[in-house]
Symmetry: C2
Subunit: 210 residues, 2 copies
């Protein structure tokens, strides 16, 4: 796949590096692309860098991994995402991290979908910590964590499911995009456990079946 990454923070960097190493073509992006030369160089030979609007043109799959406060502007400045798959990794945290800024009747994913008109939005990678995605392996002993995702377009979800599996997570389809109203609070539960309950960020969830 050709993957454009909007947001060069921990999540976007980690995902792009994994996918480039797996043979996907990745464009990292930043408003100040000179800052991410090292990032593109540290990834496999399949990675390049540019402006967000260039990454948006480049990718068949676009990853949105910016802070919630920047999501709307980042999408608007990226230009048209018509027909593209947009992976929304965002948790709509309040500025003081005390909780979520939206929920119950909507979600960051649904709000972002309103801005990114015509994009096939899939929520994913919001319940796993960046430190996990950036580490050598996703494994906890011999157990792979679950990568929950949701969205309204079946074909887009199938592609995202494969991209999730490429990262070493076990993809689980949580249903329509509206289910982001559950996946975002789930992310806040993880954030609470990591920081308020002092478990640290080397935690993840596994859906058990029997």
């Amino acid at each position: 796949m050709k993957i454009g990454i909007i947001g060069s923070g921990n999540v976007g960097s980690a995902l792009g590096k994994i996918w480039a190493a797996k043979g996907h073509e990745v464009m990292f992006s930043s408003r100040h692309p000179e800052k991410i030369i090292d990032l593109a160089e540290s990834a496999a030979k399949n990675a390049c860098f540019g402006l967000p609007e260039e990454a948006a043109k480049f990718g068949d799959v676009i990853v949105l991994a910016v802070p919630w406060s920047q999501a709307e502007n980042a999408l608007k400045s990226a230009g048209s995402l018509e027909g593209k798959i947009l992976i929304d990794c965002i948790n709509p945290l309040k500025p003081d991290y005390s909780g979520l800024a939206v929920g119950f009747t909507t979600s960051a994913a649904e709000e972002d979908a309103k801005v990114a008109k015509g994009a096939k939005v899939v929520k994913a990678f919001n319940t796993t910590f960046a430190v996990l995605m950036a580490s050598e392996s996703r494994m906890f002993g011999d157990t792979s964590p679950t990568g929950f995702y949701c969205g309204d377009d079946a074909a887009a979800k199938a592609i995202v499911s494969d991209l999730i599996r490429d990262t070493g997570l076990d993809p689980i389809d949580a249903g329509p995009l509206e289910m982001a109203r559950c996946l975002e609070p789930l992310a806040f539960l993880m954030i609470d456990l990591a920081f308020n309950q002092k478990m640290g960020t080397n935690i993840a969830l596994r859906l058990l079946k029997r």
Copy 2:
């Protein structure tokens, strides 16, 4: 512990049987106690049955496991729960099971705490299916699922943590009662996976650490 169970459905029945078998004293209850004679008899010798208000007097720990639509009335008719530990197992499902009826700015646990004045409310057992609690074992292979709980009273949470462990779940403290705003959507995610995504109810979550 002396445990009074309000609600003689699948969740309350399963929990009471486990705890009676573990040596706790359990009173099951129903508005029509003659209907639950069999339930008390099918449990270990430590189980008896009565009216909800009798179970509420009997227990140091009270388990509320009724449908959301009946929660307020069940608490009111139980009488004073002042000083008691109230385990809230309730998911505030809409009547058509299409989603949660409350969330984000409140939760079933917080609403129930307003009714049960003076009780030390701990949210627990809302993210595991009744069929799991009613089965021979909670194990998935050699893995025990996580039993998330939250509440505002540390001593009450320590007791509930032990009761969770008695059921074969691995207790994880998710913080203050307000975190029910995340645990209840988590339960709806599980319900969605079981029924809408057709995974069935033999699923559970495990928090991984490394």
